[in-house]
């Protein structure tokens, strides 16, 4: 099983714990990830809203490189990258004028893009390509007793719900249950975390983050699992401010790949778990060292 891999800037910076856990987990499962050569920023949602055509050109360069790299699906773990690359594919296919601009720009860089690179999310790959049975086989340390609130964020399944339900996605729920965790009922799983509003309009953004934290605590979760670097940052980094403003709501937020890694017996350090502001508590009933 081989995929082209587009880390995006988050996984090399603020969200490096995502990459630190994703790569060993995938390796453990026999999934080969080949990082794109000379990839560039996906443009994120910010550039899309400034100039859609130029944003498409920027993102399409990555698609063109992936197409050149070989006939593999492109994995984009960051949900913003995943959304932007998929949106670019749609825009190129649906709007001839955008396609023309993209082809002209790519041509100047001696690149082409024919539209045939599927952009995949790790949740999709893990559940539908690797399969829950194969994942279960690798579990050496089931996360028994760990209550997890699965949090997908807004961009993973919306608006392009290709691999899961847009309202009630379940791939992460099933994945976490497979590695032994107890998944709590978390109807806010696709609610907005505040996004960049936490920085620009904190009274609006942080309130959204607070609701997520508070509800996860109220539902008895030990930890929130996420698939998005920005969600992870928002939920993890502002808890002091939030607690001061609205009251206590303290809970760790980790990447779902980190929890998988723990179940596979990888060390917390190796999985980047030390990078959290709000640290995850040790797994319940940690077995005595043999």
């Amino acid at each position: 099983m081989k995929y082209s891999y587009f880390p995006g800037c988050s996984l090399k910076g603020l969200g490096r714990a995502y990459e630190e856990s994703l790569l060993p987990v995938m390796q453990h499962l026999g999934v080969e990830l080949v990082e794109l050569d000379d990839w560039n920023c996906c443009g994120a949602t910010a550039y899309m809203s400034v100039d859609e055509t130029k944003a498409a050109v920027l993102a399409a360069r990555n698609l063109a490189i992936a197409e050149k790299a070989g006939p593999h699906d492109l994995m984009a773990p960051c949900s913003a990258c995943y959304l932007v690359l998929n949106k670019t594919k749609h825009n190129i296919a649906d709007f001839p004028e955008i396609n023309a601009a993209v082809q002209r720009a790519l041509g100047n860089a001696n690149l082409t893009y024919s539209g045939n690179v599927p952009v995949r999310h790790p949740l999709d790959v893990l559940v539908h390509d690797v399969g829950l049975d194969a994942i279960k086989e690798k579990v050496v340390r089931p996360l028994k007793g760990l209550k997890v609130a699965p949090y997908y964020g807004c961009q993973t399944v919306r608006p392009y719900a290709t691999f899961d339900d847009a309202w009630n996605p379940t791939t992460m729920d099933r994945l976490l249950a497979t590695v032994g965790a107890e998944v709590v009922h978390f109807p806010l799983k696709t609610k907005c975390c505040g996004g960049s509003l936490t920085g620009t309009v904190p009274e609006a953004g942080l309130r959204l983050t607070y609701i997520l934290l508070k509800e996860a605590v109220r539902r008895g979760a030990d930890v929130i699992a996420t698939a998005c670097p920005l969600c992870q940052f928002n939920l993890d980094a502002y808890q002091d401010q939030i607690n001061r403003r609205w009251g206590p709501a303290r809970i760790a937020t980790v990447y779902f790949t980190q929890l998988m890694g723990l179940a596979f017996g990888l060390s917390p350090k190796q999985l980047g778990l030390k990078r959290n502001f709000v640290p995850m508590k040790p797994l319940p009933a940690e077995p005595a060292t043999v």
């Binding site: 339900d165 309202w167 009630n168 009922h185 109807p187 806010l188 609701i211 509800e215 109220r218």
Partner: protein
């Protein structure tokens, strides 16, 4: 009547109708008449303001007499509208009615053309074709086929019940076939009916009992139609009678067997209470069930499943010996002349809209569930309570769940506004709860319905206009803790609201039955794109189908309330009676026939016939066509490799000369 003029002199009369301005506004009618007058064989060519009027018809008859016409062509509207009128006029003039040809220059020409010159040219061309073809027409006779006087009614909901009773009361023998163990349908589950708030059971159960007692009605519950063959007036229907393991004649409905069942408590979801209560493997669907006899669920009963049970039910039944585990599925064949299909609807599955939380939050219920809760013979004996037994302090009702929704069903289910307002009033009556109705538009067009809406407003029921975004259980404010929160854009107030309530009622819409497609094929009906059975004409033939002798009534044709279902089933019964009392069916002679000398017996026509009208005569080694079954579709005519199948009114020379006529003007 005149004889065949095929070899004699052909004398044609041509008439073009102005249809007021409908045709004359776009077609130069005198010019067409002038053009046709010059064609060979045309003796008379006239234009007239309204050919279908009495003077117009009289004109034809007079010309037939005065000018010895033996062919008539009328260029006017669609044959669907007036072909019969003119054929009758021709017959009244003394000619065989099939020496007539009609040209449609209204729907096919004046109504769709925008250029007067072109429209007139088209009228000339089409009229020329008809004049060419009519000379080859032959005298034909309509045939009469007797009608079997019995009627099959499929579906024992309120529509089927009413149709059966209407026919039975008129002295017609009726078979009423119902799939479930009891008749009554959805209406039996309702507590009260809008807008009068009269008790549903009180008005329904007497009709149910009347069905069972009626000397003219044969009631087969727990049965399904599996095969239909034949044609209007002469249908052969096979009905599968499922084994209920209880002899209907012997069971007196004492229910002692249910008491005695080795299952001490109900264990399986009770269908009648939509799963809100449990029943045993041996049960009666509801107290007023008709027939009032028990039924054994073969998938649950230990004896039926494994053969290993103490059979305490048998002991309880004792000498009556009504329980019979040897019962087998039975196929019964009946003959009927007409069929009324009243197979009803199914409710939208609220789980298909996950954001409303049905199946996720226990206190999100459907309207039919609340209906059972409020009913005194329901699972809570009429108490409206939350799942934990507390009475709700506030109830939210969400309308258009699975209706008027691009993502699920686009149609309006028509009853949910009124149904919800009725439930809202019942909630107010039974509890102290505040009720808020979330709606897009209140649709209350029925008699007394707008007044009912007014009453709901006056009684303090709150109405919030807006499509609910989601139902959730996460709280933002202290008053939301422990409640279900409805998030909705209030489109009258102009902002997004969060409204906490204890109970949410989803007004799920109506959908075609899951097996509507199979039923449609069984009775040779059509469906609209949504899956509702299609009426022959949305205004003028609302209970007929495209298959003669098959009628539809009630919600299988589309969502409707009880009064409308009753009206339709009465109409369907009347349509069936009109055919029965006439005693025969007149068959159009446009049927196919076989020129036996040319038939090679290849049988290629037989499987092609959609009406199974063609069979094979083994003795003669020739195909043969049952004229009574043939609908004149022409499939076999086109397919016959030896051209030995021909069709009345569509003979080769008629069609070829028609083509020549069309091309002649171009």
């Amino acid at each position: 009547m005149n004889t065949n003029h095929r070899n004699g002199e052909v004398r044609i009369g041509f008439y073009i109708c102005h249809c007021g301005h409908n045709i004359a506004g776009m077609v130069d009618c005198p010019a067409v008449a002038h053009y046709i007058a010059k064609l060979p064989g045309v003796v008379v060519s006239r234009d007239y303001k309204y050919m279908c009027s009495d003077p117009g018809q009289e004109l034809i008859q007079q010309d037939i007499r005065e000018h010895q016409l033996n062919r008539v062509v009328v260029a006017s509207c669609s044959p669907l509208l007036h072909e019969h009128t003119f054929r009758n006029a021709v017959a009244a003039g003394g000619l065989n009615p099939f020496y007539f040809q009609m040209v449609n220059i209204r729907e096919h020409d004046s109504w769709v053309c925008t250029d007067r010159g072109e429209a007139t040219a088209k009228a000339k061309s089409l009229s020329h074709a008809a004049v060419c073809r009519v000379r080859f027409h032959r005298a034909l006779e309509t045939t009469r086929v007797p009608i079997h006087p019995d009627v099959l009614v499929v579906g024992g909901g309120i529509a089927g019940i009413h149709a059966a009773l209407t026919l039975g009361n008129a002295g017609k023998k009726v078979y009423l076939v119902e799939r479930d163990p009891s008749i009554g349908g959805h209406m039996a589950q309702f507590d009260k009916t809008f807008p009068t708030l009269d008790c549903a059971a009180c008005i329904l159960t007497p009709k149910m009992s009347a069905v069972r007692a009626h000397e003219n009605i044969t009631l087969w519950s727990y049965s399904e139609v599996v095969k239909v063959s034949g044609y209007v007036g002469n249908y052969t229907v096979t009905v599968k009678r499922k084994p209920r393991y209880v002899n209907e004649e012997l069971c007196v409905g004492c229910l002692e067997c249910i008491q005695a069942c080795i299952y001490k408590e109900g264990k399986f979801p009770d269908e009648f209470n939509v799963g809100l209560s449990k029943r045993k493997p041996i049960y009666i669907p509801f107290p007023q069930a008709v027939p009032p006899v028990v039924v054994i669920d073969p998938e649950r009963c230990l004896q039926v499943r494994t053969g290993k049970c103490k059979k305490t039910c048998l002991e309880a039944c004792a000498d009556r010996k009504a329980i019979d585990f040897t019962q087998k599925e039975e196929l019964v064949e009946i003959k009927v002349g007409n069929i009324i299909v009243a197979t009803g609807f199914k409710l939208f599955d609220a789980k298909r809209i996950p954001q409303y939380g049905y199946g996720l939050y226990p206190n999100v219920v459907t309207a039919i569930e609340l209906e059972r809760l409020v009913n005194s013979s329901g699972p809570t004996a009429g108490e409206i309570v939350l799942r934990d037994g507390r009475p709700p302090k506030s109830v939210g009702m969400i309308l258009c769940v699975g209706s008027r929704d691009m993502k699920t069903n686009r149609w309006c289910s028509r009853t949910c506004c009124m149904h919800s307002m009725k439930l809202a009033q019942l909630v107010r009556e039974h509890t102290d709860a505040d009720v808020t109705v979330f709606y897009m538009d209140i649709r209350a067009p029925g008699k007394g319905c707008e007044e009912f809406y007014d009453k709901s407003l006056k009684e303090g029921i709150q109405f919030v206009r807006g499509r609910v975004a989601e139902v959730t259980d996460w709280a933002l404010a202290p008053e939301e803790e422990g409640k279900l929160v409805i998030r909705v854009e209030d489109t009258l107030a102009g902002f997004v609201r969060r409204i906490p309530v204890d109970m949410i009622v989803l007004a799920t819409g109506m959908e075609p039955q899951a097996d509507a497609q199979e039923v449609r094929r069984l009775f040779n009906m059509s469906c609209g794109t949504e899956g509702w059975f299609l009426e022959k004409h949305p205004k003028l033939a609302p209970v007929s189908t495209f298959t003669d002798g098959v009628f539809i009534a009630g919600c299988c044709q589309g969502p409707k309330d009880i009064p409308d279902s009753i009206a339709q089933s009465g109409a369907a019964a009347a349509e069936a009676m009109a055919l029965i009392d006439k005693g025969y069916i007149e068959q159009e002679p446009n049927t196919a026939y076989i020129v036996e000398a040319d038939c090679s017996g290849c049988k290629s026509c037989i499987p092609l016939c959609p009406y199974t009208a063609i069979s094979f005569d083994d003795a003669k080694q020739k195909a043969q066509i049952n004229e009574a079954l043939c609908k004149g579709c022409g499939t076999c005519v086109a397919a016959c490799p030896s051209a030995s199948i021909r069709q009345n009114l569509f003979e080769d020379e008629e069609i070829f000369s028609e083509i020549e006529g069309v091309l002649a003007y171009v």
